[in-house]
């Protein structure tokens, strides 16, 4: 239970709730309220990982989400392992298992560390300059080696048992950040009647106040103010508080994405609790109060475990009651580190401070700290550090006015707190496409012109004094809520101000030392310089060449340093160099949270017809057709697909087959101008179609190519029942609505999808009439009274049906359209009736074969979006007299009338047992050299039991002139000879359909 570095008192941890975690197999102890980072530090574990490229030992740098180094795999049980968790953001809980990454064989002894020694060979972009010879080595040797070296943790390998939730929300004011500025904004905004959401990525609200032990607000200690404020806010019904929630993306029109972490911090999350919840908030106004990130200082070996940010040292001490060292040296170029140093000293730690600035710039702060008994060196630079797996000393030296470096001295220490100034967290503001402005006074970019309804407050806007953060936050919250109000907060003074520090002056050869800028991607100051020397002048080039800012922290602590270094190297002012682009997400977000419920069975709706269950009960095999799941074939015991389909096909021609056509798209077209509208939409003419009759219609896109087809019934002068292909249902309705509303709004026509109103039961075959006759009331089914291509209203089993005499098989056929809820009952009744005739249910495969035997096309199979009616042999359907219809003009375009277009033909293989692949290509001469001239391709190909041989349809250049010719189709190996035939294989005269 020993925690060597735990302070005896203080902090926000709950000492009454001890817990233990496992790190690399070792059990470590801590308390509720710890993060993995604070717990590791409490146990003296500074070394927590190896760096990306050089495998250098690395420790915790930060206490927040900007952590670049301390990335751990967290194992939450089977299926619940994930890599690259920032230790500072993982809340400790009992039983948590964590492992360090990117080392072999162990964290302490890592073979990869030879890279550190070989580092001179691996400057930025080295891989572009080598590994090119011999060529073959790239695939076999170099690339695999590069890949094996890259990457951080291990990707999860088993399915994730957790659930992830989604929530859309709207509010008047969204506040991001719950530090003093955000809390003050919330106080103001929630005092109105507006709806307010406040999100903070931390486990507790408070931001910097959570580790602010000395400040006062309105006379009370900051912690007390915080507690009272949070209490007030919890009481506000119009305010939703979301801790553990990161705003990660700011999209168009104030659409902000938040990720709420619900379960990972719980030792035993309830089974229904989602692990994470994605919030998509549409906010009228947004207040960004996201704080600022501290910058490390850049000097040789500034990356040793134990070297961290000064404010983080302060947070570990004040918030977590962990002293990250027994002797801490602060190295700073600004004022805020003095507060950290003072707090450390007050906590009983041995403290020294080195300030880059000259004594005059920091006299008061230095004096105060000295008064506490600390050594303070001003006007010093940092030359380097000592130690390897943990810092053991900081090498410092005085600098004079001419930046001349004096004699070195090593300050012993086991922890270093760095402060190179602050960078406002403008990520979300910039994502919202707001413009930034460089503010020399704080050496940082701050929000300038907003592009959306957004405002920034507090440190994220470049305001650092606490009282100003509060006042500004309040004003922003009030203004965002449309109730401008001011309130000033009297807070104790904050130590602010810093001198911009770049690579620190050194007496060593700067070209040879490793002074890290981007810790995670191992980018050093000299890499940035090298990039500039090589002509990579744009900061975007520098980023991509060196990879600075491209790691999982996206350069939160490093981008400002990198760009300042680049600016120096270029000799340009910072504003001219500019920033790289801020992109979502602010911090990495799990794929699953973004996907939310749309996984597994909810990935896509599975549409089923009213007959589906019947088919499933009979062991049907199904296939996916758009969102539908359709019965594919109905195997009997022992039958394979081939046998089942052959049997189904024979039954449909020999007796009677039963087919579920419910997925066909159906549209009711109603209104006095319905026929005129149909005339314009289809290539056919509809004027003369009598009510009670049907016609096969073809519809084009405006470019002249076939869009869809289907049988259309005229129910009444002003009412059509249009059918479409299964996949085309929505497309056709959309196409019709578009023309109706935008081109011909004066036509009085109304379109309604009735696809799902009607189940469609196709009864096909010579015995079809006898099968349904007993069931149909109100219709004379005789050929004379009800010929092919007719429609009648009738009742079946009492249900009002629309009975079509149509056929997609070439046999006598009926399609019963029955209101869906009666579908199964009618289907069963038909099936029952048909038993006497050997009725056979058939699936989509037999349907395809049967129609191919008759040469009926399927849109999407014979056609691919480049076929005209003439190409597929349907030119005759074009109503010659119509002056116009959609697509007509395009049919006259030069290339659509040019000779040599592909035309629909039949193909018969020389070997009748050979079934070609659909998609096989056709050539005239298989002996041609490659590239060969292809003259067409097979669109449909089946074994036809009715023909006793294989049959195929194909689109072949000038095909109608090639009847009888022998051509060659590709098969798995080589070619097969085929003979061109008419695209009809059964009943060439089309007589059977008339019964």
């Amino acid at each position: 239970m020993k925690q060597d570095y735990r302070l005896a008192k203080g902090g926000r941890i709950d000492r009454a709730r001890p817990l233990s975690v496992t790190f690399n197999g070792r059990r470590l102890f801590g308390f509720a309220g710890d993060t993995l980072a604070s717990l590791l530090l409490a146990n003296g574990q500074h070394l927590v990982g190896r760096s990306f490229k050089y495998h250098r030992p690395r420790g915790v740098l930060s206490h927040g989400s900007d952590e670049p180094n301390a990335l751990l795999a967290v194992d939450r049980g089977p299926g619940r392992i994930d890599p690259n968790n920032r230790a500072s953001m993982v809340e400790a809980r009992d039983g948590l298992v964590a492992r360090s990454q990117n080392h072999w064989p162990s964290l302490d002894f890592d073979v990869g560390a030879v890279n550190d020694a070989l580092a001179p060979l691996f400057p930025a972009g080295f891989y572009y300059k080598t590994f090119m010879w011999p060529r073959a080595f790239w695939d076999r040797l170099y690339e695999p080696a590069i890949r094996a070296a890259a990457g951080l943790g291990e990707a999860p390998s088993s399915p994730d048992p957790d659930r992830y939730a989604h929530r859309h929300a709207h509010c008047d004011v969204l506040i991001v950040g719950g530090g003093p500025a955000g809390l003050a904004a919330a106080l103001a905004a929630s005092a109105t009647d507006k709806s307010v959401i406040l999100a903070d990525e931390g486990a507790e609200l408070g931001g910097a106040l959570l580790h602010e032990s000395s400040a006062t607000i309105d006379g009370a200690p900051a912690a007390q103010w915080l507690a009272e404020t949070v209490k007030t806010l919890i009481g506000r019904a119009n305010l939703t508080l979301l801790p553990r929630t990161t705003a990660f993306g700011y999209y168009n029109h104030n659409h902000v994405a938040l990720i709420e972490r619900l379960a990972d911090h719980l030792a035993a999350p309830p089974p229904d609790l989602a692990r994470e919840r994605l919030w998509q908030v549409r906010a009228r106004e947004v207040v960004l109060a996201t704080g600022a990130h501290e910058r490390p200082l850049i000097f040789a070996d500034n990356d040793r475990p134990g070297i961290m940010l000064a404010e983080s040292v302060r947070a570990f001490i004040n918030r977590y009651a962990v002293a990250p060292g027994r002797r801490i040296v602060f190295a700073t170029s600004g004022a805020s580190a003095y507060s950290a140093a003072a707090d450390a000293k007050a906590a009983g730690v041995d403290v020294a401070l080195v300030d880059i600035r000259r004594e005059e710039a920091c006299r008061a702060d230095a004096a105060a700290l000295r008064a506490m008994g600390c050594e303070v060196l001003t006007g010093h630079t940092i030359i380097g550090s000592t130690g390897r797996k943990r810092v053991s000393g900081l090498i410092v030296a005085p600098i004079d006015g001419q930046a001349k470096v004096g004699a070195r001295r090593t300050l012993d220490c086991d922890c270093v707190g760095l402060s190179g100034g602050w960078t406002p967290a403008v990520h979300l503001f910039s994502q919202s496409r707001g413009a930034l402005r460089f503010e020399p006074a704080i050496d940082g970019f701050v929000p300038d012109r907003a592009a959306q309804a957004v405002r920034s407050a507090g440190a994220s806007g470049g305001t650092y004094p606490l009282s100003a953060c509060l006042t500004e936050g309040f004003a922003a919250g009030a203004a965002a809520a449309g109730a401008p109000a001011a309130r000033s907060f009297a807070a104790s003074a904050t130590r602010v101000g810093f001198q911009p520090a770049r690579a620190l002056p050194t007496s060593r050869d700067a070209k040879r030392v490793k002074a890290f800028v981007d810790f995670q991607n191992d980018v050093t100051a000299k890499d940035v310089k090298l990039a500039v020397n090589e002509g990579f002048e744009s900061i975007e080039h520098v980023k991509r060449y060196t990879t600075t800012g491209m790691a999982t922290d996206q350069g939160k602590t490093s981008n400002m340093n990198a760009l300042a270094l680049a600016a120096d190297a270029l000799g340009k002012p910072i504003p001219q160099v500019g920033t790289t682009t801020f992109r979502p997400p602010y911090t990495p977000v799990s794929f699953a949270a973004i996907v939310g419920p749309s996984r597994g069975s909810l990935f896509d709706p599975v549409r089923k017809t009213p007959i589906y269950d019947w088919a499933a009960e009979r062991g049907a095999k199904f296939e996916n057709v758009s969102l539908w799941r359709r019965a594919w074939y109905f195997p009997k015991p022992g039958e394979d697909m081939h046998a089942a389909v052959a049997r189904e096909c024979k039954a449909a021609r020999g007796a009677v087959g039963l087919f579920d056509g419910s997925t066909l798209g159906k549209i009711e077209v109603v209104g006095p101008d319905a026929a005129e509208f149909m005339n314009r939409m289809y290539i056919n003419s509809w004027t003369k179609l009598e009510p009670g009759r049907c016609r096969y219609g073809v519809m084009l896109k405006e470019d002249g190519y076939i869009l869809d087809d289907g049988v259309v019934a005229r129910l009444a002068p002003d009412r059509f029942h249009v059918t479409t292909t299964t996949g085309g249902a929505a497309r056709v309705l959309n196409h019709m609505e578009d023309y109706l509303q935008t081109e011909w709004p004066h036509l009085d026509v109304f379109l309604t999808s009735i696809t799902e109103q009607w189940a469609v039961i196709a009864v096909q075959g010579p015995k079809a009439r006898e099968t349904i006759a007993p069931l149909v009331a109100g219709v004379d089914l005789s050929n004379e009274a009800f010929p092919h291509m007719s429609v009648r209203a009738c009742r079946i089993l009492g249900a009002p049906c629309r009975l079509f005499r149509v056929s997609f098989t070439g046999e006598v056929g009926y399609e019963i359209n029955v209101p869906s809820d009666f579908g199964r009952a009618v289907w069963e009744a038909v099936y029952e009736r048909g038993q006497a005739f050997g009725i056979t249910p058939y699936g989509t495969e037999a349907m395809h074969v049967l129609r191919a035997e008759r040469g009926f096309i399927i849109v999407g199979q014979e056609t691919d979006g480049t076929m005209t009616p003439d190409d597929v042999g349907l030119a005759g359907m074009i109503a010659k007299a119509k002056p116009d219809f959609v697509g007509k003009r395009s049919l006259a375009r030069p290339d659509l009338v040019a000779p040599g277009r592909k035309q629909l033909v039949g193909l018969l293989t020389e070997d009748p047992n050979l079934v070609l692949d659909e998609g096989a290509q056709i050539v005239e001469n298989p002996a041609m050299p490659i590239p060969m001239r292809m003259i067409g391709h097979v669109t449909s190909s089946y074994w036809s039991a009715n023909c006793g041989r294989s049959i195929a349809l194909a689109m072949i250049a000038d095909g109608r002139n090639l009847m009888g010719r022998t051509l060659h189709a590709t098969v798995a190996a080589g070619f097969a000879s085929v003979k061109v035939s008419a695209p009809v294989f059964v009943d060439p005269k089309g007589e059977r359909v008339h019964g």
Binding site: H168, Y251, N252, H253, N254, H255, Q280, R282, R433, A451, E702, D703, N734, E737, D738, Q741, T742, E743, P745, P883, D884, K888, R889, S890, R893, P894
Partner: protein
């Protein structure tokens, strides 16, 4: 995700809408009279401006009405939405609607 002000339903999220491309390209009254070039332009040629763009939207999962919008294609900000068959209150920069 855009927020689109349907003239009939008010501001709604983009996922309820379908975009129909450039607006005010009326289908010629007599296509047959057009030469190949003019017809091809009608079919394929688009302004595609960087800046204010007149475009068509349908509130597909809402009122299912088509309407027009002016949107700045650089900022993605909507300037105006207006009913089919009407003209915007101001025209896109320097361009006349056809």
């Amino acid at each position: 995700m855009l927020l689109i002000d349907c003239p009939y339903c008010g501001p709604r999220p983009e996922v309820e809408f379908r975009c129909g491309g450039e607006a005010h390209i009326a289908r010629p009254a007599q296509p047959a009279d057009m030469d190949d070039k003019a017809w091809a332009e009608f079919l394929f040629i688009r302004s595609n401006p960087k800046g204010v763009h007149a475009e068509r939207w349908i509130h597909q999962h809402g009122c299912q009405r088509w309407f027009n919008a002016l949107r700045d294609t650089y900022t993605d900000a909507f300037i105006e939405t207006y009913e089919m068959g009407t003209k915007p209150s101001r025209l896109p920069d320097g361009r006349t609607t056809r």
